[in-house]
């Protein structure tokens, strides 16, 4: 804490003192300078991202005639401009929540499958397949979502409408299923790998002795999981979900390809419409003029802040868990 640089190991300390007078000295200085410089460069980039986005966003918001937070409108072509993020915030949050509701239970299930249920010969290939799911580019998910998933969901949505249409939020008027709900399903598939792999890692760290303690008390496999595995992994599951949420909030091209956007908040989640921050930026960018680009940057800044908060929370939970398990073990 006192100094920035200390040798990595105390054993390295004594030779390094002798060495400072030898020929390595200049090389050491240059090398340290380079590597520390890179670290600083990274910090500068982060600061620059925040600064430049804020700067352009401030310009845009100052030209905004409407309330930036509450307006249901995105009109940047006219002068004065009227735009607000209410619809985008709603669409982003709703689609991400749907994604979480679908993905987290399934991901925890798969993680348990890999760590506790699968026959040993199956566990490693399954983990590998899930990792492959993470490697598929988001635009390919988008293409698949738009050309395969959307047509295949109309049947399901009609069924929802027949039985649950009275709720209002699950009514469906027909037409292409390019709605926030479809986006939620697609996002769920996309965040499944990260939630699975982080949860799996946590489940694998559950000390064997706690599981054996439960077994020796005469617990079934499910009871072992409920007594020893899930309580131990709870904070890990939460942070895994938050990391997944961070991904879902910022996903751009898959949403832009699947969603049929408008600037309204529809009561029904199944009817096409709505929008998300990232999708709105990608979809409107080509037609936006100079002021329009700044307005989009302003909405991007909001997305940036939201994802920072979500990811920060996830990291904090992970860090606290590390301390906790460090002292307990």
């Amino acid at each position: 804490m006192k100094t920035d640089i200390e040798p990595t190991s105390s054993a390295a300390e004594s030779p390094s003192k002798v060495r400072t007078r030898s020929t390595g000295r200049a090389g050491d200085k240059i090398f340290l300078g380079l590597s520390r410089g890179s670290g600083i460069a990274l910090l500068v980039i982060m600061a620059a991202i925040a600064a430049f986005l804020t700067y352009r966003a401030a310009i845009a918001i100052s030209k905004d005639e409407a309330n930036f937070l509450t307006t249901f409108e995105w009109n940047t072509g006219s002068s004065p401009m009227r735009f607000g993020i209410a619809v985008l915030a709603y669409g982003t949050v709703v689609s991400s929540i749907i994604a979480m509701l679908i993905a987290v239970p399934i991901a925890v299930g798969i993680a348990l499958f890999i760590s506790h249920y699968a026959p040993r010969r199956l566990a490693a290939p399954v983990a590998y397949v899930i990792d492959l799911l993470a490697a598929v580019p988001s635009i390919v998910y988008g293409l698949w979502g738009a050309l395969f998933l959307v047509p295949h969901l109309t049947g399901l949505y009609t069924w929802f409408d027949d039985y649950l249409g009275w709720t209002g939020i699950l009514s469906y008027q027909g037409g292409a299923a390019r709605s926030l709900f479809t986006v939620g399903i697609l996002l769920a598939i996309m965040i499944l790998p990260i939630v699975t792999s982080v949860s799996r890692e946590v489940f694998r760290q559950v000390p064997k002795m706690h599981e054996e303690a439960a077994l020796a008390l005469g617990a079934t496999r499910w009871e072992v999981i409920r007594m020893a595995v899930l309580p131990f992994g709870r904070s890990g599951i939460i942070s895994a979900s938050m990391l997944g949420l961070g991904r879902a909030l910022g996903e751009t091209m898959a949403v832009a390809t699947v969603l049929s956007p408008n600037f309204l908040i529809e009561t029904s989640l199944l009817d096409p419409g709505g929008g998300t921050f990232a999708q709105n930026i990608a979809s409107r960018f080509k037609e936006a003029g100079n002021d329009g680009r700044d307005a989009l940057i302003a909405s991007g800044l909001v997305l940036f802040v939201i994802t920072l908060l979500v990811n920060g929370a996830a990291r904090m939970i992970i860090a606290r868990r590390k301390e906790y398990s460090g002292t307990a073990a």
Binding site: M46, I106, I139, L249, A278, T307
Partner: protein
């Protein structure tokens, strides 16, 4: 002690023998549920095998719980319920992956050939078949290459700083912000380069602008994976070298890095695979082009992800086919990088690690 025994006469009376379902019961149940799912599905007129599968899964879950509850008691039934749910979760996850790969291969191969790989879209009528993705492949390779050229040295050196030197507040801050950077949405990285490079500095759209955004996304991945690998290098190696009077920087270059090089290469390749599929910043910064532009520093370029998006937007059968073909090329590129990277990791794994 006797009070406890009295409280629980049922357990005392029962022997170790418990009524259990025979070992083949779950398999039989799978067959029955699939048959039922298909039967009911056809009766209700569901044409979709996936819906029938869901139905079969539902039947299986309920039946195994009910059967367990009747024969084995509630505790075993709950255990069976959990087991069947976990298996269904696994199957649910595999379905979309198989479908996605099947669709991409099946529809992509219709136009994917040598012509597609060696021609651009210059002068091609977009509603007609023909044309190719050569310009997009060139764009992707150049942008990803440039991004790696920027991100790898910075990422490597940062990781070296964190592992070999960093202990103070600066190192803590860097570690924290590397984590934060991992979570930046790709579109935000694009917006940053847009505001800084294009709006404020006044440069035009180019492959290089896209590469810078990709580099921002790549850096934290490289730092993280390199850090992990450097930490695996045992301290004894460093101490042995330092004790011989070798300066620290030469120790790092000649001892530490060569030991970890396999893992570092893997990390870099995985990072490349990750950003090769990024499309959001490309849409903002590269602007797209139909012709071949070999110069990433000047003028609009295309890239594979951008090409897929563009062809999808055109909205006709010929362009959809081109989009699928490009998706197939992109997936193949990413998967090959992944496989090679994992191969290297296995082959070059540090002997002392793990």
């Amino acid at each position: 002690m006797s009070t406890v025994v009295d409280k629980n006469p049922a357990r005392r009376a029962s022997s170790l023998q418990q009524a259990r379902l025979p070992g083949w019961a779950p398999y039989a149940l799978v067959v029955v549920s699939v048959a039922l799912g298909a039967g009911i599905g056809t009766a209700l007129g569901m044409g979709n095998p996936f819906q029938m599968g869901l139905l079969a899964a539902l039947v299986f879950i309920i039946a195994s719980y009910a059967l367990g509850a009747v024969v084995e008691g509630s505790r075993q039934a709950r255990n069976r319920l959990a087991t069947s749910l976990v298996w269904v979760c696994f199957l649910l996850a595999v379905v979309p992956l198989l479908s996605l790969i099947w669709e991409t291969v099946d529809r992509g191969r219709t136009v994917l050939d040598g012509y597609f790989l060696s021609h651009s879209m210059e002068g091609v009528q977009t509603i007609l078949p023909g044309g190719g993705a050569y310009h997009a492949i060139i764009g992707t390779l150049e942008q990803v290459g440039l991004a790696a050229l920027i991100a790898v040295p910075i990422g490597l050196l940062t990781a070296i700083y964190l592992v070999e030197y960093g202990r103070g507040r600066l190192a803590k801050a860097v570690t924290f912000f590397v984590d934060v950077m991992t979570g930046i949405p790709s579109i935000v990285a694009g917006l940053f380069i847009l505001s800084f490079w294009i709006i404020i500095l006044g440069f035009s759209y180019s492959g290089f602008a896209g590469a810078m955004a990709l580099a921002i996304l790549m850096m934290p991945i490289v730092v993280r994976s390199t850090e992990e690998m450097l930490k695996l290098v045992p301290d004894e190696l460093r101490e042995a070298s330092l004790a011989l009077g070798v300066p620290k920087w030469r120790t790092i270059l000649k001892v530490v890095l060569p030991t970890a090089i396999g893992g570092i290469t893997t990390g870099v390749m995985l990072a490349v695979a990750r950003i090769a599929g990024e499309s959001a910043p490309i849409v903002l910064l590269v602007f797209g082009a139909t012709g071949i532009n070999n110069n990433p520093f000047e003028g609009a370029q295309s890239s594979l992800p951008y090409y897929i998006y563009e062809q999808w937007q055109l909205g006709n059968e010929a362009s959809f086919n081109r989009a699928w073909a490009a998706a197939l090329v992109l997936i193949a590129f990413v998967m090959i990088l992944n496989l090679v990277a994992r191969g290297i990791a296995r082959w070059k794994a540090p002997k002392s690690g793990r």
